[in-house]
């Protein structure tokens, strides 16, 4: 049971990553690789601040803010200096590797005895459930796990609601239109370059927040933790789209969260059945490739007979 709870909790934490990927890849159609570095950046900033005795909420917020700055940096490279979009993200991501090492001072920062959102959640849990293990449906669950499992979805739902609100404001609508049709939004008087920069900042703030929470949940920040995260987020977004079946804003946001949690649970199950963890990234990449290519292949297979009939 603790395996399932752990997987679901990480799924919710990484849902914030999925939301960030959704914003850059889907809303702005910007293949932003920055996330690989900004998730680690968020984790590094939060972890270091926590070891310096910062308030957990403030440290977490700073992690998100740092991610946002990284995203804005990629945006400036791409929109103001006309660097190829993929390359802009790669440059930021590569630079962030050094930045993250500088921030942490070493490749790994453990959070063993430091106050964090998790220790705060634990004390909430103990106040709610007492200090003894809980028995839920025959499984033993520690108050810490139960409290984290309860509070993480609430925090994620709050962020999702905030995003949903934001993308329906005047500036948020202009951002969505920028990804849809940049020519149109320029003709409507919005600076499309600025919209993309702000959008990537928002996306990577979400990713940084995800990293900050992940570091606190797993108890350390590691300079390698970002590897493969973009594909991970993309897989969640794709699963989410399949689950809700529409690209509409509210559904897509909900879908990305559901996709992230479901994906994590599937992975936990696969690992339980003996999947080699080393193969995980290969399988994730293969999954995303299949999800990108299969619908088109199926559609063309379906279309061909019709096309032939039309020509006859």
């Amino acid at each position: 049971m603790s395996l399932v709870i752990g997987a679901a909790t990480i799924g919710f934490i990484l849902a914030l990553l999925a939301l960030g990927v959704y914003i850059s890849f889907r809303i702005f159609e910007f293949p932003d690789i920055t996330a690989e570095g900004s998730i680690t950046l968020g984790a590094a900033v939060a972890a270091v601040l926590l070891t310096h005795g910062w308030q957990p909420v403030a440290a977490t917020a700073m992690g998100a803010l740092a991610g946002g700055v990284a995203g804005a940096f990629t945006g400036v490279l791409a929109m103001k200096f006309q660097v190829n979009r993929l390359l802009a993200g790669i440059l930021t991501m590569t630079a962030l590797y050094s930045v993250n090492l500088r921030i942490m001072g070493k490749s790994n920062v453990p959070l063993l005895h430091d106050r964090s959102l998790v220790t705060q959640a634990e004390s909430v849990g103990q106040r709610l459930f007492g200090t003894a293990d809980l028995h839920i449906m025959g499984w033993e669950v520690s108050p810490r796990d139960a409290a984290v499992m309860l509070l993480t979805p609430i925090a994620v739902a709050l962020m999702a609601a905030l995003l949903y609100w934001f993308f329906r404001t005047n500036i948020g609508t202009a951002m969505r239109a920028t990804g849809d049709n940049a020519q149109m939004i320029r003709a409507m008087g919005a600076d499309d370059g600025l919209m993309v920069i702000l959008g990537l900042a928002l996306a990577n703030a979400m990713v940084g927040l995800s990293g900050a929470l992940l570091a606190q949940y797993q108890g350390f920040a590691d300079v390698q933790m970002g590897i493969g995260m973009v594909v991970w987020g993309l897989a969640s977004v794709i699963i989410g789209e399949a689950l809700v079946g529409t690209m509409q804003l509210g559904y897509a946001i909900t879908g990305s969260i559901m996709g992230s949690v479901l994906f994590r649970l599937l992975v936990a199950m696969a690992l339980r059945w003996g999947l080699n963890p080393n193969d995980l990234k290969l399988i994730t990449a293969a999954f995303v490739f299949a999800a990108l290519v299969l619908p088109r292949a199926l559609a063309s297979m379906k279309k061909k007979p019709q096309g032939a009939a039309a020509h006859a």
């Binding site: 329906r168 404001t169 409507m188 008087g189």
Partner: protein, 270 residues
């Protein structure tokens, strides 16, 4: 209202593909004037419109709208003064957004966009009235994605959006060229109605001699990046489509003559 002072633009300068698209265009468009621009392919008529809209910066010369020098303004800044409809019906709207959301963007053209709710009740009521005036039965479908509509419907809506917050200048770039004849007629009728109602200063590029003859109060004909005819007043009212076609024919013949003469000279002397 719009002053174009000796505007020049060369694309791909210094390469074999060099195109001198605008070679010194001079024009003053009075407030409320509905000016039609015609010209052969490659004459620079669409380039001129894009230069005014700010799709690129001109090499030399200056552009003034309503007395303001906008020559160095980026495209999105000029949009505070300019409403625009494009040739491609898909260029003027964001397909994934609903009709209402597209209109909410038009409502803020040239204004600051903050954290106010894009689809406030007042804006929605207002846009419903505007869309109802189209008589296309779209006012009940404001929540539908605009990408689900036909090209003609989208172009009509783009026109409404461009003129909703009365622009100082309305730019129409062959905005019926990609539509079927029936939709084109509808959009032209709508254009005529709105321009007359709001007495908008309008700059319209067209390939249709029919439209050129029947619409507007001034007619500019371009050729090789320059204005070669400027017809207005009584003369514009009298001008017929056949007459315009004759002028094009004349151009074509004089060009053939030029080329023929050049070939003759070449044969004789080289």
């Amino acid at each position: 209202m719009l002053e174009i002072r000796d505007v020049r633009k060369t694309f791909h300068a210094g390469t074999p593909n060099e195109v001198r698209a605008l070679r010194g265009v001079l024009a003053t468009i009075e407030p409320g004037s509905f000016t039609i621009i015609i010209g052969t392919n490659g004459s620079g008529k669409s380039t001129l419109l894009n230069a005014v809209a700010g799709s690129f910066y001109v090499d030399s010369g200056s552009l003034h709208i309503d007395g303001v020098n906008v020559t160095r303004w980026p495209e999105h800044r000029r949009a505070s003064l300019i409403g625009r409809v494009f040739q491609d019906p898909f260029s003027g709207t964001a397909p994934g957004l609903s009709i209402a959301e597209n209109f909410s963007l038009a409502a803020r053209r040239g204004l600051r966009r903050g954290l106010g709710f894009a689809l406030g009740r007042r804006v929605q009521d207002e846009m419903r009235d505007v869309v109802r005036s189209l008589n296309m039965n779209l006012e009940g479908r404001l929540d539908n994605a605009i990408g689900s509509l036909s090209g003609g419907q989208r172009q009509a809506l783009t026109l409404l959006m461009a003129t909703w917050r009365k622009p100082k200048l309305l730019l129409l770039d062959e905005h019926t060229a990609a539509l079927d004849p029936k939709s084109a007629d509808q959009v032209i009728a709508l254009t005529d109605k709105i321009v007359a109602r709001d007495s908008l200063t309008t700059f319209m590029v067209t390939h249709s001699m029919q439209q050129a003859a029947s619409l507007g109060d001034r007619l500019i004909m371009m050729h090789r990046g320059q204005i070669i005819h400027d017809i207005r007043g009584e003369e514009k009212k009298r001008v017929r489509a056949t007459e315009l076609l004759e002028r094009f024919e004349e151009l074509r013949r004089s060009e053939l003559l030029d080329e023929g003469a050049a070939a003759m000279l070449e044969a004789a002397y080289v």
